[in-house]
Amino acid sequence: MARKLTGVVAAVVLLGVLIGLYISSWATNTVPSIAATPVSGGAGPTTSLTLQTVAAVGPQLSPNHPNWVSYLVKQNGRWVRSTIFTVPANSLVHVTVYQFDGNSGLRNPFLSAVQGTVGGTEMLDGKAVTHINPEEASHTFVVPQLGVFVPLPGVPEEAKNACEVAPCDPSTMAHRTIEFTFRTGKKGRFRWQCFVPCAAGTYFNFGGPMQTLGYMDGFINVV
């Protein structure tokens, strides 16, 4: 009887330790919040975010899912895997995206229109556009509650020196450059996401990185 009781207690303790390890692993593996960089000389408070989108995030930035598509953000000169950005309330946020991934196409072509940015446009490789070809969309940067919809066209298949694994170097590798500015309002936490089914090999291309915070979805913390 005593031996049985000892066995049960040992099993319960072992299970508790394993659950504790799992929870602590999950709790310490949260996506960091990255503050936008203040920009001087703007009309009113302005900050900037520099992002890149990559077809495969690589083992360095995501050991568990090196093949997942992802956004990255530049912090202190280094590319960091995070999708949680902190920006000031009632300010302008200037975003630059270096887009290294290929075309996937939008499920809903309506989302190929630029909405909610200053001037209703995005700068695509230096040229202002109001919408893109929906079949050329690679990703989107959309904050539904702020009404910001920005489609990101892909790098053509025939492009030379395409980046396979992040981090990708904009000075040497094929990419598209998208710039836009949006205005923040009151304080709050607003989700953002990619609407392009770009997670190849998952359920309707919308699983894995599309359903996991820190890859193709995140938050804009307006403080």
């Binding site: 070809n133 539904p144 009404g147 359920y203 309707f204 291309n205």
Partner: protein, 285 residues
């Protein structure tokens, strides 16, 4: 051990009569309060014909449930007070030998209640053009007269709205004219969602490849909430927005603004259809 209850003190009162009297008085007090005071405040309010119908239905359900609920609760309290274990030792109660009249009455009354509710619900669905629910691609009953078609397109994780009678323009906002019959065509581009316009009393599943039709006539100028009511992935909880019911003139102004704003985008949209099958269409494509 004897099955007869020992004689204790004064003779037992007529519990059935006492309980019945208490229950009847409580029901006569509670029913008017439920129907006339609580009923008008029940969800989802009176923002449309469907919503008002649901308030009526909820009031009827509550009114029918009130006597039953009171019976259970009052009997519980009555039993706790009158049939509790007396101090001074364990006593076995009288043997329960059944009571055919009570059992028959219980079965007949509850059976009649449930069956009448089934009939009531069926009639209300039939006469209310689906009572705000999705009625599939071929609704059994269709309201007569002119109807504004609005297509609700769900995808992970947003709703967009298309107006086929205005050049097929698509928008991220839902606006409707007051006192006009609306015919929602609800569909999805990916997984199963559910379009729930709470204050309008409309709830219709959004299934890929299915045209789910729901009818509603907004009767009040107001802002209403739109939620997804089907667990659909990471941002299911964030899949909400607000719609507006406005005057007919304001609606015309707004829809023409949308047509101008999205003129270029409308050209790249697929022709208006009741369902869409965008790529990828297969799991693991």
């Amino acid at each position: 051990m004897s099955s007869e209850a020992p004689a204790v003190g004064s003779p037992e009162p007529d519990h059935l009569r006492r309980f019945g009297t208490i229950w009847l008085i409580a029901t006569l007090i509670a029913l008017p309060l439920v129907i006339f005071v609580l009923g008008p405040e029940l969800p989802p309010g009176n923002g449309s014909d469907a919503a008002s119908g649901q308030v009526t239905d909820n009031t009827v359900l509550l009114a029918m449930a009130t006597p039953v609920l009171l019976m259970v609760v009052i009997y519980l309290v009555y039993a706790i007070i009158n049939f509790r274990q007396p101090k001074g030792g364990m006593l076995e109660g009288p043997a329960v030998r059944g009571h055919a009249r009570i059992q028959t009455s219980w079965i007949l009354i509850t059976g009649a209640l449930v069956l009448s509710l089934a009939v009531y619900g069926t009639v209300r669905l039939e006469t209310g053009y689906g009572a705000g629910s999705g009625s599939g691609p071929k609704p059994l009953t269709v309201p007569s007269g002119k109807k504004l078609q609005v297509q609700v397109i769900a995808q992970q994780w947003a709703f967009t709205y298309r107006y086929p009678s205005y050049g097929g323009v698509e928008t991220t906002h839902l606006e409707l004219p007051v006192n006009e019959e609306v015919e929602f065509h609800v569909t999805s581009l990916d997984v199963i969602h559910s379009f729930w316009a709470y204050q309008l009393g409309v709830k219709a599943d959004a299934n890929p490849g299915v045209d789910n039709i729901a009818f509603v006539k907004p009767t009040k100028i107001q802002t209403f909430e739109v939620h997804c009511a089907e667990l659909c992935g990471l941002w299911h909880g964030g899949m909400f927005d607000h719609g507006r019911v406005v005057s007919g003139a304001d609606f015309e102004t707004w829809i023409h603004e949308q047509q101008q704003t999205f003129a270029a985008t409308t050209k790249v949209l697929p022709p208006y259809a009741l369902t869409y099958a965008p790529e990828p269409t297969e799991r693991g494509h």
